[in-house]
Structures are given as structure tokens and as C-alpha cells.
Assembly symmetry: none
Homo-oligomer: 113 residues x 2
Amino acid sequence: MDADLDTVFAALADPTRRTILTMLLEDDMAVTDVAEPFEMSLAAISKHLTVLTRAGLISQERRGRVKWCKLQPDALKNASVWMQGFGQFEPVNLDAFERFLQQELSEAPYSET
Amino acid sequence: MDADLDTVFAALADPTRRTILTMLLEDDMAVTDVAEPFEMSLAAISKHLTVLTRAGLISQERRGRVKWCKLQPDALKNASVWMQGFGQFEPVNLDAFERFLQQELSEAPYSET
DNA sequence: CGCATATTCAACCGATTGGTTGACGATTGC
DNA sequence: GCAATCGTCAACCAATCGGTTGAATATGCG
């Protein structure tokens, strides 16, 4: 039915891809630069970027031999709206965000998984 | 860690599971009743329900021989909050979001424990 | 007790996922 | 022109996913 939600949620279900999205919040990046901090091949990152592109979460524009990746946060809207259908929390809740930050940050950054 | 986000987003990436969640918005349901409208085996639905349970999106309580499924929408909070961070990265709370970014990025492999 | 109901388990299947490597096409710069 | 850089493609691999079927385990009921 809603293949859109399928692909968006599936794209978000991978930590590497979520990290890439947060990296792109800072600025647009070339594929090679996106790949740099990760301990995996460029080809693997390239695949992740196609997944994100197909989900509409980023766009890729080639300029010369460099392909620039740009965040497209609007793609999250449908998914966000879908989740808000469950109505147990306010649509835009910065307080919840702050609490989430506290919780995230209070966890040991380097604890073994 | 956000293995939480992994499992929640992965659970949401399936249309059958999303439909089940919306069904449970109406009311708690027994496993058999959840399965009834779907054109797949009860065992398949049972598996979907375990996925949802492991993601914390529902809880299952056995009463007699019937296992009741109950929506747990709070599990969506972290995921929703994570997504909303992308929707509004211009507002005042950029500081908090920056700290969130640091946390996320510090989980990239190059920080190897 | 004996049978129906409710649900899960176990084994299996094909498709997809996330990763690798090596070759390849395009583009840039000396 | 040629070599280096950027990125993808193709083939492969192991693991996971979403589904099936059939047997197994509780539990409730007459």
C-alpha cells in the first residue's frame, strides 16, 4: 500500500544510514567524504546512499566528478505524520527531544555493545 | 545506544505490522483476531507480533489461552523525536541538537571503543 | 477424560540485505 | 596523453526476513 513509508522506515532502520543523515545535517557532502569516517568500503557507503536516495531522504547531484549529497528532511514528514496518528505525544515536542538528549548523553559513549 | 531505533524503525518498515498497529489503536486484540483480516497464516502474524513486541511497540499479556495484544505507543517517542530533530534544525535549540549530533557521530566506528 | 481452541515452535524456502572485492567509466589536472 | 581521483557496477557471500506447513503445547469446555 504505502510503499513510501516502507522505504523511509527501512532506510532509517540502519545505524550507518542514520549517522549519514546526521552528518548531512551539518552540510552537503561528497560521497567520498561521507564514507571517510566509516570502517567500510566506499562501495558499501555508495549503496547506503542509494537506499537513502530512493527513500527520498537525500538527493544526489553530480558536479564534475564529485557527487554531492544533500539532506531532504521533508521526506520524513509522512513518516512523522503517520507516527503522530498514534497521538500519545505532542506533534512537535521539544521537551521530549531534550529528555531524549539527556538520556542519550547520559549513556557511556564507549560502552561495549 | 540506539539499537532501540534500529528495531523500532525496522518494525515499522513492514505494512502488515503498521496495519496491526493501527488495528490496535481501536482496542486490545487477541492474536487470532489480529490475524483474521490478513491473507496469511496465523504463524506469520504471530511472528509479526513478536517483532512488534521486541521493538516495544506492543505488549502481550496471556489471560487463559488467549494472548492479548496492547499498543505501547510510547515506544514511538524516541523514533518520533529523532525524526523531528531533522524537521526543525533552525530553531533556538540548535545547541541541544548539536550535542545530539556529537553523540551520534561518536558512535561511528572510527572512535573504536 | 477427550476434544476443540489459541498460540507457538521447528524446519524449510526464496528473496532481500549489508557487506566484500575487483574491474570499469568519467572527470580532472599535470 | 596519462595518471590519479570519484563513484558505480557486477559478482559473490553469509545472514536475515517474511512467508509456508506440520507438529507441539497449553488451556477451556462439555
